[in-house]
């Protein structure tokens, strides 16, 4: 394969990726946002009249799921340019909920310019990033959900195998997550065959891993030599089945499913790498003979789990 052909391929792959991800970023353009703790900010786009803008009665705010419960606005403050208004409430708002702000008869320069409706919610990208972070650190599948331990102990003896496994696993995990989501959403759910999901998910994973193995062997023998050994092992990793099952249970969309896959994969890779670092050092230590090998590895994992407990409750957005 020539270098130029490779470049075109990489470019094409990137273009497809950008196309796929673009709806996520389009969501950044939103009309309202959360302010500090107890407030919402809405952007009118035109300078509004001060007397109108400061009148609490012009705003009607409610949670999207509870349109009949109106939240009382405590105070309104306009920015110096009178383009945005900050509504303050008595109680802290629930940041994972969606709020609707209805404003009637917006007055700009003495004229009424019509009513508006603003939807305030957490940015999609923030939600997805939150899922990735949660799966990676807070609910790390190895240290807090205790999944994938078999492979975790099996391949964490050396750093280079750990890295190889981590990368292979992350790639396979992402693809499986998205494929299983599609299967569940478009085949199992409409046909009301959800009771078949275990058998279908594990079948999909097995077929996918087998196919990846065969294709990689033909297309890129070099990569196959590096990763091929791990590919077969992946099927016995619980995480690969747990992620689609969690996705199906919490009715995640395609991007959420993909994010959970990425988070789980990267989290697993991190866990493997950390463990491999310790175990390489452990080989040089004088461990009591009855503890040598797996027992001491378990104790070390316990210490890691204790450390990862510190991440729980973490939230960035």
């Amino acid at each position: 394969m020539s270098v130029r052909a490779l470049h075109t391929r990489v470019f094409l792959a990137l273009a497809i990726l950008v196309l796929l991800v673009s709806p996520v970023f389009a969501d950044f353009v939103k009309d309202g946002s959360f302010g500090k703790d107890k407030s919402l900010v809405v952007d009118f786009g035109v300078p509004v009249d001060e007397a109108w803008g400061k009148d609490k009665a012009n705003y009607k705010v409610f949670e999207k799921t509870d349109p009949d419960i109106v939240l009382p606005v405590e105070s309104v403050s306009l920015d110096p340019k009178r383009l945005t208004a900050e509504l303050t409430f008595k109680d802290p708002l629930n940041r994972s909920a969606e709020y609707v702000v209805e404003v009637k008869d917006i007055m700009s320069e003495g004229k009424a310019v019509g009513s508006g409706k603003f939807l305030v919610k957490k940015a999609r990208a923030a939600v997805l990033f939150g899922i990735i972070l949660a799966a990676m650190l807070i609910n790390n599948f190895v240290f807090t959900k205790y999944l994938g331990l078999c492979i975790f102990f099996g391949v964490s003896q050396r750093k280079d195998t750990a890295i190889g496994m981590g990368i292979t696993f992350t790639i396979v995990m992402c693809l499986t997550a998205i494929m299983c989501w599609a299967l569940f959403r478009f085949v199992l759910e409409p046909l009301r065959l959800d009771f078949l999901k275990i058998i279908v998910f594990i079948g999909t994973t097995a077929i996918f891993v087998q196919a990846a193995d065969t294709i990689l062997r033909k297309v890129n023998p070099f990569l196959f030599k590096r990763l091929g050994v791990y590919l077969v092992l992946i099927v016995t990793n619980c995480i690969i089945l747990a992620v689609p099952l969690i996705n199906a249970d919490s009715s995640h969309g395609p991007f959420e499913s993909l994010s959970l896959g990425v988070g789980a994969g990267v989290g697993f890779a991190i866990a493997l790498f950390l463990m491999a670092c310790v175990r390489e050092k452990l080989e040089l230590c004088r461990v009591p003979r009855t503890f040598a090998g797996l027992p001491i590895a378990f104790v070390v994992t316990g210490l890691f789990a204790l450390a990862f407990l510190g991440f729980s409750g973490l939230s960035l957005f």
């Binding site: 799921t65 009949d68 419960i69 994972s96 009771f195 078949l196 058998i199 729980s312």
Partner: protein, 302 residues
Amino acid sequence: MKEILKITVSLTCVCISAALILGAVYTQTFEPRQRIEKKEKQEIINSLLGFGHGKERPKDFEVYPVNRYVIEDPEAGTLIGYVVPLKESQTALVRIDLAGKPAGVIPLKAKHEDLLDKLLLNSMVKTALPKNATATFAGTFYVADIQGKRYGYVLEGTTQGFKTFINMMVSLDAKLTVTGVAIVKSEEDPGLGDEIKQDFFKNQFVGKTLEMLAALKVVKDPLPSDYLDALVPARAKKAGLAPDKIEEIRKKHVKDDIYALTGATISSRAVTTGVQNTVSKFSKRFGILNSAIERKNLQIAF
């Protein structure tokens, strides 16, 4: 080539027979599973209302579910619909606009026992509405009656816990004072946040009135030991507290804030705000629904 065919055929056979067996097991277990889930919910509701294990339910004790729907009608705008049970096993969909005014009542085909079957009810509500309107299920509460007299309410609520959502149920008496809290589903850390399921935490909410709830806070002080004994039935028995003594201690502490669990302040706070929100929303909604029922002169079952 022949081998491939052989492999394909045998794999297909394995798949088909597996699917057939699964289908058979599924159809066999579907009924009892649903029945058990329904029964479990019924038991939680009963024990919240004070008729749990071993305690006989009085005669004429009835619990009616009321389901709430958010209706998006292109002509009438957003409406709230309540499926209420009427006398003689009839049901009706009461529609109320966002300002709280009644916007029409539609009789439904559902019988009283169908009210617990969410899937069936969803489809019935949908067929009763105009074609281009949509209805999304938004929640349920239960109304309990004894011999035609209002006994209490059980509300369902969710709140964001430490890790995932916490599903809970809150029971109120006829005056909207909390009589019990039950955690239905949660995934808090065992040993820490999971303690929200324990009596000494849940029972702290008992006796809080609507006004007390609105001002309720979570404090990190240790739970007073006499209060702890009064909150946990097993400890009260050990300490030899008579029922009226328990009552007295509880009354003494009823104005206290919620004592947070050690090492799980976030979970404690989550449950507290969950109870607050569930009850305050219910009190608003129920007032609106009651006035709508009165104005429309409906013969409701409770």
